[in-house]
Symmetry: C2
Subunit: 345 residues, 2 copies
Amino acid sequence: MSNQKLFNVAVVGATGAVGEQIIRLLEERNFPIQELKLLSSARSAGVKLTFRGQPVIVQEATPNSFNGVEIALFSAGGDVSKALIPHAVEAGAICIDNTSAYRMDPDTPLVVPEVNVDKINEHRGIIANPNCSTIQMVAALKPLYDRYGISKIIVSTYQAVSGAGAKAINEMLRQSKEVLEGKASNPDILPVGSLPVKHQIAFNAIPQIDKFHDNGFTNEEMKMILETKKIMGDDAIEVTATCVRIPVVYGHSESVYVELKEDFDIEEVKSLMASAPGIVLADNPAEQVYPLATDAAGKLETFVGRVRRDLSNPRAVNMWIVSDNLLKGAAWNAVQIAEYIAIEQ
Amino acid sequence: MSNQKLFNVAVVGATGAVGEQIIRLLEERNFPIQELKLLSSARSAGVKLTFRGQPVIVQEATPNSFNGVEIALFSAGGDVSKALIPHAVEAGAICIDNTSAYRMDPDTPLVVPEVNVDKINEHRGIIANPNCSTIQMVAALKPLYDRYGISKIIVSTYQAVSGAGAKAINEMLRQSKEVLEGKASNPDILPVGSLPVKHQIAFNAIPQIDKFHDNGFTNEEMKMILETKKIMGDDAIEVTATCVRIPVVYGHSESVYVELKEDFDIEEVKSLMASAPGIVLADNPAEQVYPLATDAAGKLETFVGRVRRDLSNPRAVNMWIVSDNLLKGAAWNAVQIAEYIAIEQ
């Protein structure tokens, strides 16, 4: 590793649920770092975190924070990305943005390394990290897309509360305890922190993640629909999504119906996914083996099971896709992109 | 009501989760009962229950229990139904069976009163009550079937633990408490009591309800597929189901994609469902109104919301259907059938 170039890296949103995982992964993956700058809002500035055994004081992220920074990982909300990324790019940093701010910008590659790693080199300073629920689905479906083509995807999600941040995790655990004790649940954050109506998430299923569009779909559902087409590079894929929050802490699960363009052998479908990068096939009905959120939590891979030919449409296949939404769905996908950038330079 | 004929009624499985609801509904609905016989396994015989303020001792259900019984509601498992229903029919009782024992028998009507009440009169002593997850879906879709025709249904379920009985409820609540306290969850019953592998249901989503068929679908999924065709009286409807258990106590939720045979106006779709018997339209995204399991628990109706035209297929509509699985999904549908029988006689 002596010839490995070392990078000055910044993590914006260092004290958040995803930022914390990014820092942990940079350390675990032994990312080639010269200097690590941890940035946050003014409110969290001054917090002392640890990286490779050394204390690092979190600083307030400002337009002037990026002098000398070569790679900046943003995970502090869309508004922060919009406000600061232009300054970071100006200062020469390659920005990997985990928010939705630049995802649909035609000049910004939207990258899941297992699907379209080649797009990384087309960046103009910004690479967007897709939405958590999209990443695991396209990673699992890519080998099928390459082999058979995909005409249609219908997905229903079972999403963990950690996707709504640390406060939503705390709310769900607090509510669960209160309901178990026979008390009122007092919803305060979910389904959407910035909207007026709150619903109990403990022992419930809430069919709303993010705000509604006029077409009746939520923003989370529109992200899955639009981002899937962009990442696959195929606007002809029909995508329908229903996104639902359930009382799970870590790990999004997805029930996915996929119509392929060619006839397939179901064993080949399984074997294509089993041998795909980043995918683990967990599929043995006889032994009751299938992916579970509690098993996927803390893992970097995407798990696929319940793979079965549709009974009505012989060109359709149904499956169950699970991954840790804070890892492959956010921090790990971003760090993977950073690793590709580091290797290229 | 003085001219109302009164019936001798038996409830088999009186001490179970569904039996308990049947007894409560017979009382609340003021069902015309001459004598109520409560039957159970030998293990629960002797238990004292209360009906209309009077104590009723639960007796062991045997082949000789049905002398003089005119209407018998069975909810004690498929094996009990198979063993005892022939004797009850022989004794002259009309049997309403809440198990899967006779559902696919060509001589047995499978009835959801809002969908095919006319089939009740074709019975030969047995009327089958469909599976909980099927009932709420066909009740909600019937007005669309009548107006436009339905070619395809793709459903993913979010099913409550009460569907697996009182022991599964206790297990989920116990596990939730243990996990919140940082203890191991020790799964003991779910996903399927009679199978060897157990999975944690607290803070998880388990994509297995009932045993697997060789085609990779579970028995619960096959029930939804086959029963929907039988109840709708239309084998040409394509149905795909993925059935998932989530940590909810009462109320199954369903994400449903439906392809209609004709063009439709989305407001007409909503209005057809809003005016259908037994259906409540709870659909106002601007006010964050949509059906929730916690709201549906304890209610007799089926709730529909998130109704929206598909963005890829202009003849498809997506929706979210929720109902109390022990009520419309079991006890209430059975008591509704009993009420029709009482009115006819």
